[in-house]
Subunit: 247 residues, 2 copies
């Protein structure tokens, strides 16, 4: 079972890879860890496969690149080896119950670069977890944005994608967040009251969500308290059994 | 008139800022340039306002951060000054015909960070150009992804957003690209033939495009040949006159 954690820098991918991996190991699963981030300095887990063995963003910066250029260039250099990475991950998948893929710090490096897209195309039925932090949710339209971003990842990578709010231990009014994220009809009704052009677009987009995708569960995760780990495990299990239908 | 160039690292934002600015200046417009990228090393234009005066990703990396962490941290440090930047940009807008905003190398730094979102919320009717490279378009579903990404930016930033394919001088079969991007019905019909789950999602999403947004024009731009600069100028002019209706 291959689980891919995708999300912006700071959404908690690496911390979750470590914490959820530990949780699985404590439940007697064999777990392997894959680091796909050429720009990470220190990892809190020991990767079984690590792209930094091949190339790091640092060594490219030493050639004179800026940080953004270096990150893109590092994946340009990894691209010719993408099928080797696919094979190695499939091998790890054969030997373990779970393979956890920790993706590049900046999400777009994975979504907009052929390395990420081809890697995911090559893997058999991975489940993608789209991790977003509650910080990005300030107004109703933002909830629509987060829900749609999960669909965008699914559209781009071609893998079943589950939206997961991270750091739930840091929010006081979790019930309000859940209401907006779980209940698309409620969110749509709320967006209808927004007078701005942005609100109107959000309303229209949200209204189409039910026809676009089956009602996807949203996960609520805290690496501090372990909240949501059992839900993620259940979802991963169901994904393996049903191959993608996570309604 | 404020024009914001948004796109992934390598899509050509900085080069376009310079080349389109030069084009405008040659047409006797007063143009000012704003650099919002803390991670860029060298700029091909002379910025009138530059966030690197306040902070650079490098100096933060010297504190021990990795490149991704440093980029996020740099915008955390800029955030308390966001209203000063809004004021400075509005001042430049008052003194010039065009203010060109060159955004962070990694697009998500702008879309997912409060600095970018609040800056755009504060500006009066900016026009956003979503720049994407033809490299990201390999299969029909990718065209749907690019079209939707423009909407996602509009949803997130609340600004009218025009999708623009960059580097059109590098593609041989531009007509094919144009057909997929300009004619949503054609693209939808093509997606209907895709047997995969990804194709089905793309088909569903594309089918909703006409109800979601008015038929937006797509720009085709080359900084090498200047192709599309007149279209961008026309669109910017119409945006100023009609405040957002770019059908």
């Amino acid at each position: 079972m291959i689980l891919t954690f995708v999300g912006t820098a700071g959404s908690g991918k690496t911390t979750l890879t470590r914490a959820f991996g530990k949780y699985l190991e404590e439940n007697d699963y064999r777990v392997s860890y894959v680091n796909l981030d050429t720009g990470v300095k220190k990892l809190p887990y020991r990767p079984d496969l690590d792209v930094r063995v091949e190339v790091t963003a640092w060594e490219i910066m030493e050639e004179g690149y800026g940080p953004n250029g270096a990150i893109v260039e590092s994946y340009d250099r990894l691209l010719p080896r993408v099928s080797e990475y696919v094979s190695s991950i499939m091998e790890l998948d054969g030997e373990n119950n779970y393979v956890l893929l920790d993706t590049p710090g900046q999400m777009e490096t994975f979504l907009f670069h052929d390395f990420g897209v081809r890697l995911m195309e090559g893997l058999p039925e991975p489940l993608t977890v789209y991790l977003f932090s509650p910080d990005i949710l300030r107004k109703p339209a933002d909830f629509c944005f987060a829900r749609f971003f999960g669909l965008m990842i699914e559209l781009r990578l071609g893998t079943t994608t589950v939206p997961a709010m991270s750091k739930v231990d840091t929010v006081e009014n979790l019930e309000e967040y859940r209401r907006y994220l779980d209940d698309v009809e409620y969110l749509t009704a709320r967006l209808r009251l927004e007078p701005s052009t942005q609100g109107l677009l959000a309303y229209r987009m949200c209204s189409t969500l039910p026809e676009l995708a089956p009602p996807t569960r949203v996960l609520y995760i805290s690496t501090q308290t372990g909240e949501g780990f059992d839900d993620l495990e259940t979802l991963a299990y169901e994904h393996r059994c049903t191959c993608g239908d996570l309604t």
